[in-house]
Amino acid sequence: MKKVIIIVIAVVVVVAVALILFFTLRPKPVVVEQTLIFGSSGDAVRLDPADVTDGESIQRMDNIFEGLVEYKEGSTEIQPCLATSWETSADGKEITFSLRKGVKFHDGTDFNADAVIFSLARQYDTEHPHKQYGEWAYWGWMFYDVEKVVKIDDYKVKIVLSNVNASIMTSLAMFTVCIVSPTNAEKYKEDAFKNPVGTGPFKFVEWVKDDHITLVANENYWRERPKLDKLIFKVIPDASARLMALEVGEVHGIEYPNPPDFDRIRANKDLKLLTEPGMNVGYMAINSGYGYKDGNENSKRDADEPLVKTIGYLEPLTKKKVRKALNHAIDKQSIIDNIYMGTASVAKNGMPPFMPGYNDDVKDYSYDPEKAKGLLAEAGYPDGFDVTLYVMPVSRPSMFDPPKIGEAIQSYLAAIGIKVNIYQVDWGTYLQETQDGKAQMCLLGWTGDNGDPDNFLNVLYGPNAGNIGLAGNYGFYMEEEGQDLLTRALQTYDVKKRAEYYRKFQDLIHEDACYVYLAHSNQNVAFRKNIEGYVLHPTSRKFFYPVSIK
């Protein structure tokens, strides 16, 4: 009997141990988290899509937020996104959108007409309680024709325009008009830009200033869930450090690789280089002296808003001959060949050649220091003058190495007797000070947002954009004739007529010489070989939704 009990106990123990071993030692299904780390050249400035102007902020936003419409992959044609369909009224001044149902923000708020109206009204409605929390620069540059946004029912809104605007639909796919969660904005008020909540494929987790921003996949995304589980934007300002981080696998992709390193990237079998002509322009703006103060904040220069001196007013630069001399003094071709290392083309107009309305008849200022000296003497400055040049501290899509270009320009201008003092300041301050008109001359770049010429010519060189404090027109070209052409072009649907206006405008601005256009550069991104699905977008925006790690 005892024996039986012992045997039974022994069997029970053995079985129990076997079962425990079976369950604990059984190989668990391995879950590999797909984390992609992207090496950026700088940190975001703010995380509110409507209140940013720089590519670093925008590329984070592109993965958190969505708008009513969006661009098709790799093009600037539009397709439905948060709006399922839309109708334009006969006079072209009212567009009615049907909104997608069942979409939720990351914080659980329902997406509906109220959210759309909140996101847009806070940018234009001076009475809106959230107007004070941002500067909404882009609204003034691109959307000032929007008079109001009206709710028809919970899933229908109407955008009412004050003027016909031929570029409005492509503009509506921009980050500026992405829809933000109203409950979140209400909760954080002026700090909402640190806690972005949208409807996009990735959710915001944390932002460690000047180090990284972490996003995770949005499990409740209205489309299929993104293939990546985690997306991290890591800030590595130095281009060679970025490349080395990519080579050792510390990051999976980088932006703005240094052109001298391209051969090294191509030779590495673990890496790939994606490159295509970018929709951008890199230029030096010459402050021609006068801007205007936009008292009523309508982003237009009204009759009662006189020209006033900008802070960066410098007597010699107000003279057209001097500005032309500057244009003649800089050898663009040499800068393209030796600093851009051939990864860009020489710019003679303010927008890239493939844009509609590009004026190829404009004859670029030749590199001719003697002529430049002659022009300076004619203008009354045979011995030159001192001038301060603002030089960007970060790489931009249109300018990989601004400090080097700044120093090259300094050296070119020294040859005609102009002494250039180089001024450098952190990126946020740089943007603010140039928008305030403090720069006498500044280096800047622009990447197109919507593929429309208006987005280059009107935003960068239009007199309406010469409003001190929110200027986009850093050269302060203020001729009314120019604005007239731009406005007429924007209100014309006839493609040919529109192009004609823009061509004329480019003639005018070339003659005024407030800008030294330097380059249209390729956009370059390098990834590790196992990263798939990334598609370059002409606007240099960075969408990681389709990306996966193999």
């Binding site: 060679s240 080395m244 050898d331 030796n338 400090p403 070119y412 003092n421």
Partner: protein
């Protein structure tokens, strides 16, 4: 008096001859001074050519196949001759070093003598201020000063000078304290000499030896700090050929294979600091009476 000083100098040179490392340091410094004074004549190219010769950017020197013509140490990212920039850079570094140490000496002697000679609450006040300034790392304090007074080579000199003042003041004070107790000073006081006479005729000349030693060593750190500020973009403004700035603008091309543009300025910094340190150590061995055999 005159003969005595002459013999002191002779003695110094005689002793220096037997101190090989100090001699080596002296040679380096003489080469540097030579470069700085005669930069216009000995540098093969213009350090800041205008217009720039961009076509010759990042070309190797004499060792490379595709060498830049007439640039023995290659060219930097803007096609400028690295050797010429280093030679002109010696002028920048040495002038920053001398002016900064000069400022530190002037201020240091002033405050050090006042504190040491008069003692009491003046001494306490000055020394507490010195203590406060010592609480900051030298470079950090220099950055703060530059941030306040602005950027540029002249500002760099002032900033470094101010940062080194407390060290100088403390050194002077301690030797003044020592000399003040000497019998010959008491004699001077007893015969009714004025304070000014005592200070200028007796205290200062006798407390100057450590100042020379530490001044030389300080020169080394001043050059290093100047390069550091330049590297951080706070020192000389472009296109001034400053070693630290040259290094910081070129190091990213090491990855691309153009190592020379960053390496040679680095070597220049290394050797000048090494030379000054060796010389400073040698001078201490010679001038410090306690080390005399």
């Amino acid at each position: 008096m005159e003969r005595k000083r002459e013999s002191q100098v002779k003695e110094l040179i005689r002793r220096l001859k037997y101190n090989k490392s100090a001699l080596f340091g002296l040679v380096i410094i003489l080469v540097l001074v030579f470069c700085a004074l005669l930069a216009n004549f000995i540098s093969p190219n213009d350090p800041t050519p205008s217009p720039p010769d961009l076509a010759n950017s990042l070309k190797p020197g004499f060792w490379g196949k595709d060498a830049a013509p007439g640039m023995p140490l290659g060219s930097d990212a803007l096609g400028r001759c690295v050797l010429s920039r280093i030679i002109y850079g010696a002028r920048v570094s040495l002038s920053v070093g001398f002016v900064a140490v000069g400022i530190a000496m002037a201020l240091g002697i002033l405050f050090g003598v006042i504190a040491g000679f008069f003692g009491g609450w003046v001494d306490s006040l000055i020394m507490r201020i010195v203590d406060i300034m010592f609480a900051f790392p030298a470079l950090l304090l220099a950055i703060v000063i530059v941030a306040v007074i602005g950027q540029g080579l002249d500002k760099t000199m002032i900033a470094i000078g101010i940062v080194y003042t407390p060290q100088m003041a403390r050194i002077i004070r301690s030797s003044v304290l020592y000399i003040k107790e000497m019998e010959y000073i008491e004699v001077q006081k007893a015969i009714g000499s004025s304070n000014a006479r005592v200070i200028f005729r007796h205290v200062l000349p006798n407390s100057i030896a450590p100042v020379i030693v530490y001044g030389t060593l300080m020169l080394a750190t001043a050059i290093l700090d100047c390069a550091a500020l330049g590297f951080l973009g706070l020192g000389a403004k472009p296109p001034t050929p400053e070693w630290g700035a040259m290094l910081s603008r070129s190091y990213s091309y090491i990855v691309s294979g153009a190592w020379w543009a960053a390496t040679f300025p680095g070597i220049a910094i290394l050797f000048s600091v090494l030379g000054l340190n060796l010389l400073g150590d040698g001078l201490r061995d010679i001038l410090d009476p306690r080390l005399k055999t």
